[in-house]
Symmetry: C2
Subunit: 339 residues, 2 copies
């Protein structure tokens, strides 16, 4: 009986609606005997409480929002986000929460989405692709919504963050290249206004300085394939060209490798290349790409947990720190060429 309501259960069990509510939610105020009888009646009628009614009465949406502001084309090649969603889902599956997902193409659409979902659709947001000075934080504070951020922004934020323990994954890539004898190591990064773009840049720079090398070969790109291709061309055209390039993601690295090969450079003999994300396809590139493997499922898992803890008030206020990712060495990195 799909159409059963709390009243049906109440009369079936010979109690009031209130008692049924208490019994179902495991709250005190009903005797053990009665509770059992109520639950039995509920099961017999096949009753599941209506989320709509529940939501109205308790002023909750029982949903969390995720708004991805990226070009849909890019999304499709982003290995992070699918795993991330799956990670969220594994947690939500065991709770009465669901994920409301929106893809916004531009900033206007993004703001519109936040407004739309804020109007009672979700109880909180998970913020990805965080900017150093992210306006969404103020926006959500204003709207009195909860949130969990991926990475902690530079500005003051009242929301718990899930972030990586340093940017060691990226540091490892640079150290790997230094160990191979490279001295001219370039970085094609994502936009520096992103926390993760910035973090990878810093890691690159710091690792080079630690090795006593100059960090002059940097191009701020945009995480897209054309961006990676273009940056690579510019780097290779330099007088004192790099012998290795670390890219901030796999897509730029893939495009970069392709461009280098088209220009007649042999990878890795003439040029070593590393990516970031460990997308499924990069092991099938020619040569297979050395890259860094984040753990998107884990990120999703932690973010969802933090969110739920925030909802039931059990959050301890501490940021979650994830272990550094792995460097996966494949064929695109090799010893520095002789000069």
């Amino acid at each position: 009986m799909a159409g059963a309501t709390i009243s049906d259960v109440a009369s079936a069990a010979g109690v009031s609606k209130g008692a049924v509510s208490l019994a179902l939610n495991g709250q005190p105020g009903v005797g053990e005997e009665t509770r059992k009888r109520i639950l039995a009646a509920a099961k017999a009628l096949g009753w599941t409480p209506s989320l709509r009614a529940k939501g109205l009465a308790s002023a909750r949406a029982y949903a969390i929002g995720l708004i991805l502001a990226r070009d849909p084309k890019l999304l499709g090649t982003d290995p992070f986000f699918a795993g991330f969603i799956a990670g969220i889902e594994t947690v939500l599956a065991e709770h009465e929460y669901t994920l409301v997902l929106t893809v916004a193409a531009d900033e206007t659409a993004e703001r519109k989405s936040y407004r739309k979902l804020s109007a009672g659709r979700v109880d909180g947001f998970i913020l990805t692709d965080l900017l150093l000075d992210d306006p969404r934080i103020g926006l959500l504070e204003e709207l009195k919504l909860k949130a969990v951020t991926l990475n902690r922004p530079d500005i003051e934020s009242p929301f718990p963050a899930v972030s990586m323990n340093g940017t060691e994954g990226f540091t490892k890539a640079v150290e790997h290249l230094v160990a191979l004898g490279h001295t001219r190591i370039a970085h094609v990064g994502g936009p520096l206004r992103y926390v993760h773009g910035r973090g990878r840049y810093d890691a690159w720079k710091d690792a080079l300085q630690a090795a006593g090398l100059k960090s002059d070969l940097f191009i701020e790109s945009d995480f897209t394939a054309p961006g990676g291709a273009d940056s690579t061309e510019r780097l290779l055209a330099m007088d004192d060209r790099p012998t290795a390039i670390v890219y901030a993601n796999d897509l730029m690295a893939t495009a970069g490798q392709s461009v280098a090969q088209a220009r007649g450079y042999c990878v890795p003999d003439d040029l070593s290349i590393t990516g970031y994300d460990d997308a499924e396809f990069v092991r099938y590139l020619n040569p297979p790409l050395t890259t860094i493997s984040a753990d998107p499922l884990r990120w999703g898992h932690e973010a969802a947990h933090a969110m739920l803890a925030l909802f039931d008030g059990s959050h301890d206020g501490q940021d979650v720190r994830l272990p550094p990712p792995e460097l996966i060495i494949r064929g695109s990195t090799g010893p520095a060429p002789d000069r």
Copy 2:
């Protein structure tokens, strides 16, 4: 004022709650003058009707569900689905509906998700990755939910479908190879229990027969990179090996190309390869992949439209047929090698 309710607006405009409701929804029963006054009051108070209350009163969720039953790892490399979601979103953005997305790793999780979302979370589902004999159709009928399917299944289905006008896109790939002189054209397909896997298989077979060629080189694979790699090895080990392989998606083609090259075959001189989907990265493969470009945004767009039409009863019962996709010729296909 975020906390404004319909009562506030009613008293501000000096009318009853009922009048406000009628005015807001553009229903008859309020004078033009009064309607304007009510809308002005609503705007002044910054009132947006509570979706929770609306949902409870009208027994609707104002959301549509999308459950993806795939390995999260695969999802990340699937260029279709991200664009598809974006396509749905562009339509929903202008309506008061949102998308509830779930990723299910296995069939148990999938069924659980359908049950969970069916309990008042969504008003209908969009079904992707349709099976010829898809059990979800019966399930949703039983649950009295609406649905739109991507492709029409073999079994009787009361739900409108969005499907491609034939599988011409795939046919084009085979014709392209035939025109290049290939006579041994293999197909590495997806599982044949999927409508799209089956459709591509049929298209391959029919195109070969139309060209008077044997269609004996077929391997039923699984849309994954390892599956594509494995199938390719088996095809290349044959006595009368194919000189061209058409894959049912880009990921298998990418893996196949990598395997072929590792075995010493030159692509396209020794072996031509085609994919399907036109993932962002395939143009950066070495050589760039000849593939077929579906239009995921369009699919999402049409599916969402059909869904909304179903909700407001304006659906005409006709399936939507999309134009055939484009064949994008790149470097992975070339003339058949001399024997």
